[in-house]
């Protein structure tokens, strides 16, 4: 009788549960991710110990770049479309339905109203170059109207200011006083989290 030998088996591992798990995680991350929206300027936000989370909806963001240019963004397509119509009436600029559609799909922008139709007709690449900033000086304060009309279009909107750490204070002051002129005395400054030093 030959000795019964355990047959040398090639070690195999059933990978199926691993695959299941991995794809489950992939699906989860794919569904929960929203990609960072494209911004016309890079803003290096200052850090603070504040840890209030910004709500995800009904947010109007005023971005202040390093050079002191002011950009504007508001979420919600419907708000944006009605906002642009109101702004068009105010500044006597008319927009085609296509331009309204383009505007409601955009994110942060920073162009004066007279450039707006050209900005909306421009291609994506051309738009990146158009970073004139929204006028905020007292003679031509378009930011005031943007904020005012956004609040008319969506009364629930909250205001966040996202400024570059190196932006000059007078610009920030001008933005803040533009808000204060509309009796907005409560707003959020977007900061990144730091540890207490």
């Amino acid at each position: 009788m030959a000795k019964v030998r355990p047959k040398a088996k090639k070690p195999t591992l059933d990978m199926t549960p691993v695959v299941d798990l991995a794809f489950l995680l992939v699906t989860f991350f794919m569904l929960t991710t929203n990609f960072r929206p494209e911004e016309p300027v890079v803003v290096d936000i200052p850090s603070s110990v504040a840890d209030i989370k910004l709500p995800e909806v009904d947010i109007m963001t005023i971005t202040i770049s390093r050079e002191g240019k002011v950009f504007f963004n508001v979420d919600n397509k419907f708000t944006r479309s009605s906002l642009l119509q109101k702004m068009g009436e105010k500044y006597k600029v008319s927009f085609t339905p296509e331009q309204l559609e383009t505007f409601s799909n955009l994110t942060t922008f920073g162009v004066p109203m007279n450039v707006m139709p050209g900005f909306l007709d421009a291609s994506k690449e051309e738009r990146k170059e158009m970073t004139l900033g929204i006028p905020t000086d007292s003679l031509n304060n378009q930011l005031y109207d943007w904020v005012l009309n956004t609040r008319l279009s969506n009364p629930k909107v909250r205001i966040a200011i996202k400024g570059d750490g190196q932006a000059a204070y007078p610009v920030v002051k001008r933005v803040v006083s533009t808000l204060q002129d509309q009796n907005i005395n409560r707003f959020n400054l977007i900061t990144s989290l730091e540890q207490e030093f």
């Binding site: 992939v26 504040a50 840890d51 966040a160 000059a168 005395n185």
Partner: protein
Amino acid sequence: MAEIQDSGGGDHGKKGKVRSKKASTHVDMTAMVDLAFLLLTFFLLTTTFNKPQTMEIIMPDKAEKEEDQSEVKESNALTLILGENNRIYWYAGLKDPKVEVTYFGPTKIRKLLVEKRDEVAARGGKNKLTVLIKADEKAKYKNFVDILDEMNINKIPTYAVVDITPQELEMIAKAQTAPASGN
């Protein structure tokens, strides 16, 4: 990528009939796992989980008439003026002040704030330190955020962001020419 396992086919050919080898149904999943984890890693790295943090600030009402404004008790007031190069000019009280210079940092501005806060609180009663924050033209937005942050860190009960006055501009111009302390 199907791998035919050679473990099950040991006793073929003993009987005369040639049979087609039964292919195993096992599929090598390793490559698939690799792919899945690659994707997983990609999404993990590109996801920004954290929503932005914010600092809420409440500004004093602009349109208020002078008689509506709350008086600040002189002994409870501390004025900070943010200047260029991260300087903070400060003086206590409201009249005839002596401007001094300090900087950001735990041993500088924070020590000062804590000292003043405790000094005022030690007087008892309703005394609370009131910090008036002003900023010069050359101040940066970062300085502004940092000083508001210091208020939160040190739990300063009352503070307000107010405009700088021409007298104060003169005062800090003088303090600039004087040798800066702590530098």
